[in-house]
Amino acid sequence: MYSIILATASRYLLLLLLMFSVFLLFRGHNEPGGGFVGGLVAAAAYALYFIANGIEAARTIVRFEPIMIIAAGLCTAVASTLPSLVVGKSFMTAVWVDTGIPFVGKVGTPLLFDLGVYFLVLGITLCIIFSLAEEDRL
């Protein structure tokens, strides 16, 4: 059931949604949002793209194996717990960099952690959806 209208719209919506997801991610520490919702919205973007354009197109555009995205996310999240050990604090203690950046605010390991969560959530959702979609084709 390919539809030009949906396919075309989905390409633009993809960008908007991804952008919004990043927005949610970075802003989550101060306002509603965060890694989870960000990741979910990003996944929703790709899900939309997949429904409109099919699974191959979606895979092409995601470019990475979802499982690798999961691994990257988990890696980031786990890595964010390590600086605390380097500086000799208790496990998972937040470590903050002195200078903040605009909009995002203070930069520190919790942000990194949230980033990991973002990728992880994106990865797992994609992994599930893509697996289902591919099974479906066979």
Binding site: G34, A47, I67, M92, G116, I124, L132, A133
Partner: protein
């Protein structure tokens, strides 16, 4: 003594290896082991005879009062010597006998373990330690009875013996623990002075019953006797050793050992007296119809075991004296006869007495051994068996009330034993030659030495009783009665009532033999009704348990998921309802009833879509309803100050829809599967759950909640957590490890979905 036992176990463990190395002459090597122990123990004889008690204690589980504490007194020495001596005979005998079996190495392993454990049992001062050895003997007995494991009957008998003895062992264990409760110790030697305290304790009857159950099962007393004849499935050396000379005497040892400490009361004495007497008579009668050599011997053993227990029950000085003499006499002659039976079996290939006869010419040494042992068993002067029988009769006759009955029973039982002896000891050798499956000839030396020595010892002990055993027996008796006994044993007591009874016994035995010879075969096949046969009780119990188990399992684990869930739900509701009811009393504040219009609308939508979903017959309609539900809940979150929750709910609900859509069209439409009765039942259950949860929520929110956490987060979120969104700060900082776990869950779920869809039978990637 610990060292002795350790050596014993090590030696046993080496047996299979050594067997591989030596094979042919292993019997001669193996015999070193029990002989070493025998003589090792014998060196202590002078000390013991002088009235010393040798003690030894190595800490084990001190905090529970369990130690490797041993003591060697007259009683344990008597038993140890019997164990090792007969052990030696059997080890040697088996060297030849077991040649036809595979895996003789394993046989020596087990029997070595058994002997060591048996020694440990009689040497232990600590009751729990004794129990450890007790169980080890049961296990090694199991392995030995089942030595011919390819035969179903062997396996069954082994299991039967194991269950009965271990079951009794459990009773014993509880008895031991109760005894600890009473005395605060497991050390038998510490009970010595506490006898009165123990017998006066409220738990005393329980202790007696439990300990006696343990003893009776092990010593095959009625009604637990049935496993012993079945245990004759074991190779003959095993029967000779475990099931006649030693293991079955463990229970008797226990009764003797505890006689002073927890005995002396009518409960104790009467119980063992009656049980012993019943066993004595009952099993002798059962022996009447046996035709198998070993089973004949087994029933006679039972009868003797009964007699021994009965003697302890009588408990007089004379009875104790009789007990010891008879104990030794029986061990010697029964060991010998069993081995002879083994020889016959080995040489002729049959154990059916009806098929044996006239072997004297072919097997003269065996025949002589058999004759010697048989005379002892029949109680013919001048063998020790005679002294044994005389003392038994004497001690029974001393009894005031029971005496008359008991003596009649004893004579009857003894007469039957005499009949058995004739069958086992004489019939195969004398009379006319009968054809046998194998061509018999005289047994090899290894098979002759053991029984020969035992039989000769029977003669020697009979002739010079005081020289050999009196001193030791005095000490033994002391440990039973705790008073000094002078044991002067004399072979000849003069012409008196007892001698007459002995004579009567022999005559009666002859009569029984003749009757047995003349009766038609059919009579032998007549069996008692099941109700009076404990072996049938055992079968019934096992089958009963099995069929109950089957019924129960089919009922409970029936495969219906919803039944499982009903169990779960009903358990929950019924357990919760009790404290919930009580907590209703503590409710003080009425919950907030105020409702705005949009809240009402929202609630209405939630309830209706719930109903819609529950009653829906279309899958897609259900998903739509689920979507509405999820979004409404999201809105509730938003209204009550949880925008992050709202966001997440919306996102997840939407993705859920996507997943459902991807999955669901492969799934079937809804069918109405349950009947209306089921549905009504489920509805009632569901409503109960609903009410329970509603009430819980109402009660739980009916008072002010003061949470230090809420305040802490409010105050530290921005200054320390560097974030204004408190919820997010909690997620990535305050409780970040929760989040770590949570993303792990997601990771695994994704891997799971991936694997589930890509790795499956018939699909390669």
């Amino acid at each position: 003594m610990l060292v002795l036992l350790a050596i014993g176990y090590c030696a046993s463990a080496l047996a299979p290896l050594l067997y591989k190395r030596f094979r042919e002459n292993f019997g001669w090597i193996a015999v070193i082991f029990p002989l070493f122990m025998f003589f090792g123990l014998l060196t202590r004889y002078p000390q013991i005879a002088a009235g010393q008690v040798i003690r030894e204690s190595v800490p084990w589980v001190t905090s529970l009062g369990v130690n490797f504490s041993f003591f060697l007194d007259g009683l344990s020495l008597t038993f140890s010597l019997i164990i090792t001596l007969i052990g030696a005979a059997v080890f040697l005998f088996a060297g030849a006998y077991m040649k036809s079996y595979a895996q003789t190495g394993r046989f020596y392993l087990y029997i070595g373990i058994f002997m060591t454990s048996m020694l440990g049992l009689v040497l232990s001062d600590n009751m729990l330690l004794m129990f450890v050895f007790w169980e080890l003997t049961s296990i090694s007995s199991f392995l030995l009875i089942g030595f011919n494991y390819h035969k179903e009957s062997s396996r069954k008998s082994a299991l039967q013996a194991l269950l009965v003895t271990v079951g009794g062992g459990l009773a014993l264990l509880s008895g031991i623990i109760l005894l600890y409760t009473v005395t605060g110790s497991y050390e038998i030697s510490s009970f010595y002075d506490k006898s009165e305290m123990i017998t006066a304790h409220a738990l005393y009857p329980a202790v007696v019953v439990l300990v006696l159950i343990g003893a009776f099962t092990k010593s095959a007393q009625f009604p637990f006797h049935f496993w012993l004849p079945n245990a004759m499935e074991a190779p003959t050396p095993v029967s000779a050793y475990l099931h006649s000379a030693t293991m079955v005497k463990a229970g008797i040892y226990l009764i003797a050992r505890m006689n002073h400490e927890i005995g002396g009361t009518p409960l104790w004495q009467d119980t063992i007296l009656i049980t012993g007497a019943v066993t004595m008579l009952f099993s002798a009668i059962l022996a009447f119809k046996q035709t198998d050599l070993k089973r004949l011997l087994a029933y006679s053993t039972l009868s003797v075991l009964g007699t021994l227990v009965m003697l302890l029950g009588i408990g007089s000085k004379l009875a104790i004296k009789a007990f010891f003499i008879y104990l030794i006499a029986h061990s010697l002659y029964k060991g010998a006869l069993f081995l002879v039976a083994g020889t016959l079996d080995h040489e002729t290939g049959t154990r059916d007495v009806r098929k044996l006869g006239g072997l004297y010419k072919l097997m003269p040494v065996t025949a002589l051994t058999a004759a010697l042992a048989s005379f002892s068993m029949m109680g013919v002067i001048p063998l020790i068996g005679f002294i044994g029988k005389e003392t038994v009769y004497k001690s029974i006759l001393e009894l005031e009330y029971w005496g008359a009955f008991l003596i009649a029973g004893a004579v009857l039982a003894y007469a039957l034993v005499v009949m058995v002896t004739v069958y086992v000891g004489f019939k195969p050798f004398w009379g006319s030659m009968l054809p046998t499956p194998r061509q018999p000839h005289e047994a090899p030396v290894k098979m002759l030495v053991g029984p020969g020595v035992l039989a000769i010892m029977g003669l020697l002990f009979g002739l010079f009783p005081n020289f050999f055993i009196a001193a030791m027996l005095e000490q033994s008796a002391q440990s039973i009665l705790s008073e000094t006994i002078s044991l002067k044993i004399s072979l000849w007591g003069g012409f008196n009532l007892v001698l007459f009874l002995s004579f009567l016994t022999l005559m009666l035995g002859a009569v029984f033999y003749l009757i047995r010879e003349k009766v038609p075969g059919g009579v032998l096949r007549v069996s008692l009704p099941g109700i009076v046969r404990p072996s049938v009780w055992y079968e019934t119990a096992i089958n009963g348990v099995l069929s109950f188990a089957r019924l129960q399992t089919r009922l409970v684990q029936n495969g219906y998921l919803r039944n499982y869930i009903i169990f779960f739900v009903v358990t929950t509701v019924s357990l919760v309802s009790f404290p919930l009811y009580r907590s209703a009393e503590q409710v003080t504040m009425v919950p907030d009833f105020s409702i705005t219009f949009y809240e009402g609308a929202l609630a209405c939508i939630i309830l209706v879509s719930t109903l819609l979903l529950v009653t829906s017959k279309s899958r897609l309609k259900s998903i739509v309803a689920l979507g509405v539900l999820g979004f409404s809940i999201g809105i509730i979150f938003v209204i009550y100050g949880a925008p992050d929750l709202g966001l997440t709910t919306f996102a997840i609900e939407t993705l859920n829809v996507v997943l459902f859509v991807l999955v669901l069209y492969k799934l079937p439409g809804f069918l109405k599967l349950s009947g209306s009765l089921n549905r009504a039942r489920d509805a009632v259950i569901a409503l109960c759950v609903g009410c329970m949860m509603t009430l819980t929520v109402l009660f739980a929110s009916s008072f002010e909640l003061s949470s230090a956490l809420k305040q802490f987060f409010a105050e530290t979120s921005f200054p320390d957590g560097k974030g204004r969104n408190v919820v997010n700060v909690i997620l990535v900082d305050f409780r970040a490890i929760d989040t770590l776990g949570e993303i792990t869950v997601l990771t695994v779920a994704a891997l799971g979905v991936f694997a589930l869809l890509n790795l499956r039978p018939g699909r390669r990637k």
